[in-house]
Symmetry: C2
Subunit: 680 residues, 2 copies
């Protein structure tokens, strides 16, 4: 469609109807991989974390890892069961924020929102750091430079998203399926070799571990219980990403709720199977992972301590290396697929963060300009912020997943817990009005499931807080608190302003007259254009005004002005102290004082230039004057632009950006419009 | 005078006459201290530098220091004699920049300007670092924290200058006279005690020095010659500040040239006496200063190396400690007076830098907004820039005067040399047209003096470059080169723009009609005001326009609009991708396309808020739209401000700043206007 066409439609007032909506809704087989990358990618680091925490007690307690895995799997299944209720009750895509706000209150909603925002940043930091580890496992020269690799990757993701990569169904589906095939092949082949008795040991299987704590009193001791709980808390990182589906319900084909619930169940089954299988294989193959940061050390078969700098490959890497020892390509495939899915998981945050920010801005909790989803800059800001914080975290924590993960899951479980509380209240409220017996039964069943979800997630949250607070979780809590109060403050400010701006009565009276002033510093094209436009506007009075900072210049200007033959008088304002702003301000205020019912409109000729450094060289006085004039009631400020040649290129650049931006916007708009289509 | 009064005068078009000018011209007794602080303050570090360089050869060559001092004194007298010609020929205050531009060409002028700007930064860095050393000498706990003290002092000077400290005659005269009295008392008392045979040794007199180079072959060796030249180059730091008087000629009473020349001679006599006396006393009292940074070490009487961290007091501090050993207050007085005059010297840079920038901006070499001397922001930018670079230097060089001084005097001598070349050409040119015999004689004599000045300063420049290039002078050269090309580029740009904007013929034709558009997002006070103002302007067509990013909101808006009963139609622009900027831009361009001879004026309601963070929360869409609209030819953008309550405080704050700023401006304006008064 040409611009002319578009313009015609606009002029005709006919609005564009979106007819191409339904076809983009996702079938389950595409929805699963689209929303699962975040959740599934956590098998890339969650099992490792369990092993790492347990390593503090030496080799002895590695064997408990699969029991801990079972615990995590249990929580996973409870959370999945709970969210199956969520997705059937709330299908708008507002997710936990909506559930919490609707059922518990705005403070709860804001808590969830703060938690989720912190979480998005951590999703990027953890996923990319983990991906960097896989890259280092596959490509030796990268070892020791994980932080650099990770920061470069975040910068790349940021650039790609700024330029307009969109979350496209099939583009996401293929690598996710490749990942699933790769991991399951590895697992199956591993078990097959185990049954055949040919499963080799992991590379470091004959290494020992020097722990940092000796468990006295066995399973009854407090130290051990604490250690196991901490391992469990770390393993719970596997649960991150489950909530993604609840935000994505609008993208499902109808019946949306049911399809989303089915997909959730599928996701749970896959994630649990993968995670547990990896833990079991890790035990069978005697994988060694030492928590070097917390003082745990590897001991080589000769009994010597392995240097701290020794590179430990992640669990899946070690498994793949062993299982595919006769088939090195398999190892590279598994490592690459895991790395790619971790990057995709990070990318979901780049899509999710601006959407959440947009919803929050719509509710007045964030600057309003973030609300308009179609707006390129709104997304750009969000993307740059997200990338900036993620890079800061990666840099500060040296891309060490083990240390980042301490901050990670607090937000997830805050969100889970508040959301489940909201769901319990949701059913209670609905039960009050529901009379149909069958429906009541279903609701009561759902309420029980959500109540169990609430109990379990709250319990896990407490465990996470207790075992990880001093390890870094406090930092996440601080960030969430700061965000919470910042957003509350913004909302408060908007409310105040709205009250101040509200129209009490319709006063349609007009100002009596318009005094026009054209600011003149030289006689050149921009000035002449400003005078011409001002004259065309036919104000009641019109005069040109210049400030006399230098007598010679002023005399020259007056002579030149006479030459132009313009029927507009040029008034010279004295400036004893060679100021510009103050004489003009004083003059305008004086005009206003003399006739308060009139309006003064100040025409300012402005050069429009194309390059940022040109902007520094021009218009600075005009800008300052403008910003001061705006503070004066009864004044309009009219910029009359004069486009210099260099501005043409800039305009074309901006139009092009607008166009490229359009791609993103269209992508995002599609997602949101599915919902409209569904509701309307 | 009340604002009403002022307004009346402005309305009557009567210009303010400045009648209070003559009385502020400075008599010699005030002019000397005002302009001398920079030049005199260098005795605070220049003698030290000679000793420090010589220390590389061990104790043996300390005795040469006074011969080197004589060499520096000779150069000083030559420069003073030369500048006595300058001040009589050029009395406008343009200084070396004017002399070079007028007589050698704009490239030479620009070279001088670059050199001077680099020099201003170094004046601040060196003087304040030296002052910090004196502070540390007097107050022991400051030792080792000189850099922190110096940075704090620069920050303080910056704040004071931003708030409006002015270079006031008497305020400068008193501490400078105190300094002169303190130093001469110390010198006289020292010589008196020497004659009486009671002059004590300096504190470290019985310490030895382990040099870094052994001079083989005595005075004939290249190494020694190089060392002596380097000592001489370092000692030449004493010459910085001499050019200050040539910038200050307009401030002298008449006959300006003669008075300035007399003051110069006086300054030269005082500086040379002080400097040489200090060197002689330093030798008599066996002061020890070791160039620790370049590997020279002190050896204590027991023969052990003194640790590098050992704090060496500056020369004047060591002298005062010895000479006033029976009268500690004397030591503190000398240290304090020296510290204060060094800070004053730095402060002169804070006054000189914006003035130079203003002259350069007037010639189109710097952004034009730096030109208006009365403008507070122009000065603020200059002050902040100067302080920023000075702090950067102090931080990078750890406030070590010895290292900073390597960069320092390149700029001074570049400026001296080019300026003397200019003077020689000046006289040659004038001799061509002068016929009066007596005048020709005076001119020829002046030309000889300036030719000698040229030779000597050029020679010193070469010595400085050769002996200090690798020690840091290269950095100053790089900075000067960058500045040079930056300023050339800016001038080139302004020339291009001026050609593009020049009016070839006076086309006073007007646009045919005015289409007005009011942008509407809500029905609230700012919108109603914008509509009222737009209606009062009586455009040919007027419509309100809103962008439909959300159907519900748009429907509500339409309903509310009808309620207002405004006789202005509200057009809804479709936004299929939920953009705001693009639909408006497209609509405006379409209007332009349909009637190219008309002008579109877009009224944008703007909230005016008082705090920076409020600005982030409002107007962002308006701002973006505005900046895009300016790129479209034939469009005016009118901001209709609505002042929120919080803006009142901000306006009052701005007015107050304007007033405080006035004090500075008045101070500066006074200096400049003296010249007008004198010429007119």
């Amino acid at each position: 469609m040409s611009i002319g066409d578009l313009g015609k439609r606009l002029l005709l007032g006919r609005k564009l109807r979106n007819t191409q909506l339904g076809e983009t809704l996702l079938p389950k087989r595409v929805a699963l991989p689209v929303f699962a990358s975040d959740a599934l990618s956590s098998v890339g680091y969650a099992p490792d974390e369990i092993f790492l925490v347990l390593s503090a007690a030496g080799l002895a307690y590695y064997t408990v890892s699969w029991q801990i895995g079972l615990g995590v799997a249990f929580v996973m299944l409870v959370v999945i069961a709970s969210y199956r209720q969520n997705v059937q009750a709330y299908q708008s895509g507002g997710g936990d924020y909506e559930v919490a706000t609707t059922n518990v209150g705005s403070a709860a909603g804001l808590t969830v929102a703060s938690a989720l925002m912190v979480d998005y940043v951590l999703t990027v930091a953890v996923s990319i750091s983990s991906a960097a580890q896989y890259a280092a496992a596959a490509i030796d020269p990268l070892q020791g430079h994980e932080a650099t690799v990770a920061i470069a990757a975040v910068a790349f993701l940021m650039t790609a998203n700024l330029r307009g990569v969109k979350e496209s169904g099939t583009a996401f589906a293929i690598p996710t399926y490749i990942f699933m095939v790769a991991i399951f092949s590895m697992i199956l082949w591993g078990f097959f070799r185990y049954v055949r008795g040919t499963l080799p040991d992991a590379e470091l299987a004959d290494y020992g571990i020097r722990g940092t704590q000796t468990i006295v009193g066995g399973f009854g001791s407090f130290a051990l219980v604490f250690l196991l709980l901490r391992a469990f808390a770390s393993g719970s990182a596997a649960l991150t990403g489950v909530e993604a589906i609840s935000n994505g319900v609008p993208a499902f084909r109808k019946p949306k709720g049911k399809n989303a619930a089915t997909t959730l169940a599928l996701l749970g089954a896959i994630a649990v199977t993968m995670g547990l299988s990896i833990l079991v294989l890790g035990n069978l193959m005697n994988v060694r992972l030492a928590d070097v940061d917390n003082g745990v050390r590897l001991i080589d078969p000769a009994g010597k301590l392995v240097p701290r700098e020794f590179n430990q490959d992640p669990m899946i890497g070690q498994l793949a290396q062993g299982i595919f020892d006769h088939f090195p390509l398999g190892f590279y495939l598994v490592a690459a697929a895991t790395g790619v899915i971790l990057v995709l998981a990070a990318n979901t945050a780049f899509n999710g963060f601006p959407v959440l920010a947009s919803i929050l801005a719509g509710d007045g909790y964030l600057p309003r300009q973030l609300h308009t989803r179609g707006d390129r800059l709104a997304f750009s800001n969000g993307i740059v912020l997200l990338a900036g914080f993620a890079i800061l975290l990666i840099y500060s924590f040296d891309a060490q997943v083990t240390r980042l993960i301490q901050l990670y899951i607090v937000g997830v479980f805050v969100s889970f817990t508040v959301s489940q509380l909201g769901m319990v209240r949701h059913w209670t409220r609905h039960l009050r009005s529901e009379t149909d017996g069958a429906a009541r039964g279903r609701m009561q069943r759902s309420r029980v499931i959500n109540a169990i979800g609430l109990t379990v997630t709250a319990l896990v949250l407490v465990i996470v807080l207790v075992t990880k607070f001093t390890h870094g979780a406090w930092l996440a809590i601080v960030a969430m608190t700061v965000l919470f109060f910042m957003m509350r403050g913004i909302r408060h400010h908007y409310d105040l302003v709205a009250r101040e701006l509200a129209v009490e009565q319709h006063d349609t009276s007009l100002p009596a007259r318009i005094h026009a002033i054209v600011l003149v510093s030289k006689v050149h094209k921009p000035t002449l254009r400003a005078v011409a436009y001002a004259r065309a506007s036919r104000p009641n009075t019109l005069e040109a005004v210049t400030v006399d900072v230098d007598d010679d210049t002023t005399q020259q200007l007056l002579a030149r002005w006479d030459e132009t033959g313009l029927p507009v008088p040029l008034r010279v304002l004295a400036s004893p102290y060679r100021e510009i702003t103050k004489p003009v301000l004083d003059y305008v205020r004086e005009l206003r004082r003399l006739s308060p019912r009139d309006v003064v409109t100040v025409y300012i000729p402005e050069y429009v230039v194309g390059r940022w450094w040109e902007q520094i060289l021009h218009n600075q006085t005009a800008l300052r004057l403008k910003s001061r004039l705006l503070f004066t009631p009864g004044v309009m400020v009219t910029s009359v632009p004069f486009q210099l040649r260099s501005s043409t290129a800039a305009r074309e650049r901006a139009d092009r950006d607008e166009y490229v931006g359009g791609a993103v916007r269209r992508g995002m708009a599609r997602t949101r419009r599915r919902e409209d289509d569904d509701n309307g």
